[in-house]
Subunit: 288 residues, 2 copies
Amino acid sequence: MKELINLIDKTLDEYMRVEYPETIFNAMKYTLMLPGKRLRPVMCLETVRMLGEDIKKALPSACAIEMLHVQSLIHDDLPCMDNDDFRRGKPSNHKIFGEANAVLAGDALLTYAPQTIIEKSKDLTSEQIVRIIHEFTKFGGAYGLIAGQVVDIESEGGKLDKSKEETLDFIHLNKTAVLFRLALKMGAIISKADKKTEKELDNFGKKFGLAFQIYDDIMDEISTFEEMGKTIGKDKEAEKLTYVSLYGLEEAKKRFRVLINECYDIIEKYHSKIFEEILGKLKERVGE
Amino acid sequence: MKELINLIDKTLDEYMRVEYPETIFNAMKYTLMLPGKRLRPVMCLETVRMLGEDIKKALPSACAIEMLHVQSLIHDDLPCMDNDDFRRGKPSNHKIFGEANAVLAGDALLTYAPQTIIEKSKDLTSEQIVRIIHEFTKFGGAYGLIAGQVVDIESEGGKLDKSKEETLDFIHLNKTAVLFRLALKMGAIISKADKKTEKELDNFGKKFGLAFQIYDDIMDEISTFEEMGKTIGKDKEAEKLTYVSLYGLEEAKKRFRVLINECYDIIEKYHSKIFEEILGKLKERVGE
């Protein structure tokens, strides 16, 4: 796990050369290089490894998904969105570079991600690159990540088009699960997995994404700033729709455990130490 | 010209289906569908036509470049950027949908543009699609459009790393010219033009882009809100670095005319009524 994280950090650093005008590259690099768990790129690389391909082939795509993730965090932290001053334990992007540059740094990451896939994926066919970028745009755009963000914002304002339960599932399937699904999908495309495997892994991505969001909601209730590196208790304060606020802490934990066990069941046959370690760590932190 | 504009409007409308959550699709569509000259997509289609290809092949790319352009306008108008309340004669995106949705609508257009190229370009090879998206990311990102925006913002704050003349050229080559260059580059790739033609057209794009920006600076000095559909005289008020402020109105007009004549020289042999019409109209409005 640590080896993969180091490889991703090193590769991201290599990809992000600082050129003129330095402000934009420094702003992009600042949030991107903050130490993180690199969960999404790790899962992309591990998918490729367990399907028998060389992980080097997946490095550009793995880094691209981290860029997409970081882009969404930078824009999410803006004063007009979640207005969060901290991210990964450090001041948010706009606190350092100003709002205008934070908006532009997000935009730049959103274009540099597919650019990286195209420029660095020497061992992939054009067909594979087109498929990977297609999934990137579907999961990262208005039919995925951004749909989740919008419904999240609207639900905070009390606007609900569907029931609370449906709305919450929609937000989390889109805002959170899509990036895990994308990580596994990219891995499957790079490894030329058959359709059945691709679908199975996609199902894992969905379940893991929901579990991860419930985990996040639980942590917002029981964790500390030091542990999470971001402002804690904001959801509660904002009376935000979360698994904990809707179902209560115990029921949220129960749902989390059911999903994590379903994830184990899907991934078991691949004998992946990395995936088992990730599932185990989340389970441990949520506790009994 | 009008036929091409109608074709682009119709196709954009077709591509932009409004789905759940409607807010984001409505926000994307709002600024995208405001009546405009569609100069960049028109130039992309016309490049393909004059190089002997079917313009239908270029419709997805032409629409994608308009999405990229509109994305940059939406983010540019935000309070933390240019803080402009009007665009194309109507309230800016954030005045209608709020800042958070305007940020997200820009992000969504930036991902939907390459998604459109991939999903709608049935007649292009994967190699062509990869090349088109690669140019899109290079011209639209931190090595193009966004670099121009950043230096523009910094120069407004009085921060200059280079001379005023160099800085102004950098801003305009990146902020303005890249989108015209991209339009012609996409057209060349779709038409499978040889390298020499591609380079020649790229040179046209650069010169036209600079001429267009000088035109815009001149109009900010001598035009009205009704004519331009956006706030006029802002540059002067902000003591912004423009061709007019740096070289004076007469010298700016002179430079504009030199560039436009160079554009005529490059494009002449293609006998393109559309390009000649575009050049003629700009020339006419700037006057003697």
